[in-house]
Amino acid sequence: MSEVLIELKGLSKNFGDQQVLKGIDLNIRENEFLTLLGPSGCGKTTTLRIIAGFEEPSHGEVIFDGVDIAKIPSYKREVNTVFQKYSLFPFLNVYDNVAFGLKIKKMDKKLIEHKVKRMLKLVGLEGFDKRDVTKLSGGQQQRVAIARALVNEPKVLLLDEPLGALDAKLRKEMQIELKKIQKEVGITFIFVTHDQEEALSMSDTVVVMHEGVIQQVGTPEDIYNEPENRFVASFIGESNIIEATMIKDCLVSFDDYEFECVDKGFKNNEAVEVVIRPEDIDIVKPKEAKIKGKVSSIIFKGVHHEIVVETKHRDYLIHTTDYFKPGLEVGLKFGPDDIHVMYRMDWENGGN
């Protein structure tokens, strides 16, 4: 693993009497694509703005390359930002927007031209130099904003929901392109989004936030397959979340039965929650499974059917490519790998 570039230590932020960040600890490594993911108001944008230098943390440190920069103004930091609404300078054309930062640094004109041209090529806007930025499409403005930030060769690029204003198709294209650009320039990208699919498909590391607290840090696979609590499980994809009791290591009990699982390290008889992803449940004949129920609805979703099976204790959501008639008596089967045990959430309103 590469070295830690940014270290957030005990970061908190109050706006008036409202605490939007409650002690954020996070290590951000060199060359990684890290996503801050969460619903609106979770503190992800505030965290980004603190790293950019637009907000000062109420408490805590921002260690950048070994130095605490929490009190250093944004114009002295080696980070650049791609803003949510692009924030291009309307009175400058494409070339001058991209050249803005280099001109501030009083760089040689020839060198500026070389760098700007190269950057415009990288983002696919060759020959757009003299265009009026206000007359560009959303996707093109987006590219100018990325070029304007990257041309300064920052160590970190911050992206504040940059794809939010684009339509679905363009969004997909830009996701791929951003990932490509990140690989090409080889610097750290910190990306803020509320879109879990975007986070999973682009990131090396996903940081799930909720109510000013980090819920889980991990690779997209970890976050999806091994959610640490109910909030993460319900925010990332669809899932069946079941209250359960951990009998002992590798044995969990719910819905009147005991199931083998692979999770360890909980106290014996600890109250836990279990998540089972809808695609991990197999529908079998009733006698082949412990949990039995009746198909109550089936919806065609294109790639799969979304089936709800009504059992004694709860409704299970199942994704399968097979068709089952509503009313059919079925059994639900899942292996030890499919059961993910999580700590119970100790606050209210945490997800659904």
Binding site: P73, F91, L92, N93, F100, N152
Partner: protein, 275 residues
């Protein structure tokens, strides 16, 4: 929409009677001789020729000098004021803007008399100075008094358009400039000021227009010997009764103002295209 077009006709007729017709009359007066009968009009350029006499050229030069000085002071003071106002919360901003505009509710004449009572030889300022043991200063009937009167009169016309352009500015552009390495000073010149240029030009045009055609302030604060274009026109119409010459001066003034506005608009456009 086409249906509603008809509804502008009453306004067109109204504007025709009270704006266009008098304007045409002034132009007609400016190119005719005095004492004309309605059906026996004698055209002449004599009125315009008279304007080239040194005494009148002097009046124009003096008026422009004073106008430009007032506009520059208004710009410096007005921009600073507008910029400071935008740094307050929205509630305070609207109160401050109200304070700036309150003088406009008071008649110019009254305001000017208020200045007299402050500036005159035995006015408030000199009384205080004498009490403190200083020599009294002669302020009335000087350039200083006229410029002071003009600036205090015109300041709101500068502050309002600049404030408007500053307050509707997208704040994230300032953050973007900081993000790209511009400190406060560079951000102001490269972003904030650039974005406020339309407001600045509107303010400059407005104050210049008003300062160049004023006649009450120079008359009261400048004393009898102080003649600006406005006073010249006023005299021709009211005291001397030479409407033809008065009209010619008005036409020239209008032409010069029109040229200056065109020039400023061109600056505005070039400024944007240049970068």
């Amino acid at each position: 929409m086409k249906h509603f077009r008809k509804m502008i006709w009453p306004y067109m007729i109204w504007a025709g009677i009270i704006v266009v017709l008098p304007l045409l009359m002034i132009i007609l007066y400016s190119v005719t001789k005095g004492g004309n009968e309605l059906l026996n009009i004698q055209f002449t350029f004599e009125n315009f020729k008279r304007m080239t006499e040194p005494i009148y050229v002097d009046v124009f030069v003096k008026s422009f000098k004073l106008g430009i000085i007032s506009v520059i002071i208004c710009l410096l003071a007005g921009y600073t004021l507008a910029y400071l106002i935008t740094s307050f919360s929205e509630k305070v901003q609207s109160v401050l803007i109200l304070v700036v505009t309150i003088p406009m509710w008071i008649n110019t004449l009254l305001r000017t008399y208020a200045w007299i009572s402050l500036l005159s030889d035995n006015g408030l300022i000199n009384t205080v100075l004498v009490k403190l043991g200083f020599e009294p200063i002669n302020m009335m009937y000087t350039d200083f008094a006229v410029v002071l009167g003009l600036v205090s009169d015109l300041l709101p016309f500068m502050v309002i358009p600049i404030y408007t352009s500053l307050s509707k500015m997208d704040h994230s552009l300032i953050e973007a400039a900081h993000d790209l390495g511009a400190n406060r000073f560079k951000t102001f010149w490269r972003v904030t000021f650039k974005l406020s240029i339309p407001g600045v030009l509107n303010g400059v045009i407005m104050t210049f227009l008003l300062s160049i055609s004023t006649f009450v302030i120079p008359k009261l604060l400048g004393g009898g010997q102080y003649t600006l274009i406005g006073n010249l026109i006023e005299n021709q119409f009211i005291s001397i009764g030479d409407w033809n010459f008065g009209s010619a001066i008005s036409v020239i003034l209008a032409f010069i103002i029109l040229m200056s506005i065109t020039f400023m608009k061109k600056i505005d456009k070039d400024e944007i295209e240049e970068e």
